[in-house]
Symmetry: C2
Subunit: 347 residues, 2 copies
């Protein structure tokens, strides 16, 4: 599609621009280019590249800036083969998880922070897919004064809890019976199955113990759906202020509104396959994110499922480095979680 020289020129422009942030002109480029050609030649090539939609001018006589399509070509074809991750980055990644992380949520949430520290962008991490997780059991702990804490435990060691006030007309004994019933019938099922059963079969049986079971069932419903809902962790939220070129307070507020709701983002993060994916500028198809690029990747914790990590930065980012970091990090995170699961099941 492009000649070798055109490749070299496009590559040089992208690199130069990610460093300086200024449109790149032919003269300066001629100096920095390894091949020795005059600026005029470069101008001709640039015109060709612009025709193909890989470069854009900000005005009729300014230097060139990569277009979304240009970045796309760069990422697809021109990334440094030796996309070797910087060794100092590597050692940071390998030492960044402390030894005192004993919960999945802690590990995955910490991941978002590490990743954002490393890139100085905004990051997202999702726990390994929970669909195959099974209910290990409910616990019910009376706390006095009609308060009760309900605890849900899954076989992967996830714990979800919620305290609530039980209606006066229900005593703890009745509740205990219900819990026993639920544990007997539902332990070992997946969370989805549990949710179904809880809405169909269980209410019929529960009436034996409690007259109006709705209040009680809502509790389990609530805690269960909380556990089942994928939640993600966001790191470096405020970094957005630094690298967003748009300083309009309204847009920023809207953008932050976006980050606060799972629903909004899960759409963008949904993985196609297990490669590292780069979505650039307008490819993300959200007006607010036109100047951003999103790098997403799955991480694979063997039989324990797959999770997602993502980095949101400016379109003008050092793709090579960022992708390198994501690539190394997904492996390290998988390693950490594998460690967790092994410790957990070995006990």
């Amino acid at each position: 599609m492009l000649t070798q020289r055109q490749d070299a020129i496009l590559q040089a422009i992208v690199r130069q621009y990610t460093v300086t942030g200024q449109p790149v002109g032919s003269k300066i480029l001629a100096q920095h280019l390894p091949i020795k050609v005059s600026s005029a030649t470069i101008r001709n090539e640039m015109a060709e590249l612009e025709e193909q939609g890989l470069l854009v001018k900000e005005h009729s006589s300014s230097g060139r800036v990569p277009s979304t399509k240009g970045y796309r070509y760069y990422v697809d074809n021109l990334l440094d083969e030796k996309m070797m991750i910087d060794s100092s980055d590597m050692s940071i990644i390998q030492n960044s998880f402390g030894t005192n992380l004993n919960k999945i949520d802690e590990i995955v949430s910490r991941s978002a922070d590490i990743l954002s520290d490393l890139t100085s962008y905004t990051t997202f991490t999702l726990k390994p897919e929970q669909k195959q997780v099974r209910l290990s059991g409910f616990r019910l702990v009376p706390l006095g004064n009609h308060q009760v804490m309900a605890i849900l435990v899954t076989d992967s060691g996830d714990v979800e809890n919620q305290t609530f006030v039980i209606p006066k007309n229900i005593n703890t004994d009745e509740l205990e019976s219900v819990i026993r019933l639920i544990n007997d019938q539902l332990a070992g099922l997946t969370l989805e199955e549990v949710l179904q059963r809880l809405q169909r079969d269980i209410p019929m049986q529960i009436v034996r113990y409690i007259h109006s079971p709705d209040g009680v069932l809502n509790i389990f419903d609530s805690i269960l759906s909380h556990a089942a809902s994928e939640r993600f962790f966001v790191g470096g939220k405020m970094n957005l202020l630094g690298f967003s070129h748009n300083h309009d307070p309204n847009d920023l507020q809207e953008l932050y509104g976006l980050l606060d709701k799972n629903e909004n983002l899960s759409h963008f993060l949904d993985p196609q396959d297990d490669n590292i994916h780069v979505q650039i500028g307008s490819e993300i198809s959200n007006k607010l994110l036109d100047d951003f690029s999103l790098i997403t990747a799955t991480y694979d914790v063997d039989q324990y499922g797959k999770g997602i990590i993502a980095v949101l930065g400016p379109t003008r980012m050092p793709y090579s480095r960022t992708i390198g970091i994501v690539s190394a990090f997904r492996q390290e995170l998988a390693r950490q979680l594998l460690g967790y699961y092994h410790r957990y099941y070995d006990q």
Copy 2:
């Protein structure tokens, strides 16, 4: 100190400026002023007010803007006597707490959101002072696979919990004994006392059951200090983007860093007495907050202690309305919490 006319002029300038955000000139002011004087007269008075440091010019021939001292004088002397809260605000406040708030944290955290929705500023709320709260008991719930959830309950109904992995060399029975020991000896003491005892007397006794008690004690330490640490809730964080006049990303990031750490803010929020306090611009003595005003107030839940609410907005804010809202809100919040406590202890 000031003549009646000067009062009227200063008042008019402050009000005009909070509405338009533009420096106020003599001519326009002459029209909006109830007393009929010429612009020349107003100029003379303005010069006098400027001499006293109540007004400042942005440049030698611009209109006047209130100085910190000017706002101070306005707040102290010129606020509308009938600082009656707007009746629509009032009804919002009274209906904003849903009926399904059954935990102190929920009520107080919700408060921050309501208050920020109402003012469109950033808000802070603190729970009632916890010093007199006593330990009602620890619970320990085995979750399987060497996981345990520790639950701390206070006599005010606060619940704090944490799950952790117990070392392999400790079995659950041993832990149960420790819990029984702790409950016997510490229930009924204030959290501070509990913390002291946990560090002094208890370790000696615990050795009977467990050889190396450090790991176990750390757990209680951690959960306890978590419960005892005043934490505040922040509402409308992102509103800051809207009303901050400083759009420099670095300053904004620093500012948000400030909001994320209790330590930083508790200093500013510390209440002198039970009045509503207004700190204006440079009075807050933090460079980053020079263009902000902070309104703080305690709320009094009778014998259950006092908490704090605060609103952070621009120096150029409608003080009368904001103070009115804070004043009405502190009462409503106290009422809500009183309701909570009554329900709680009546059961």
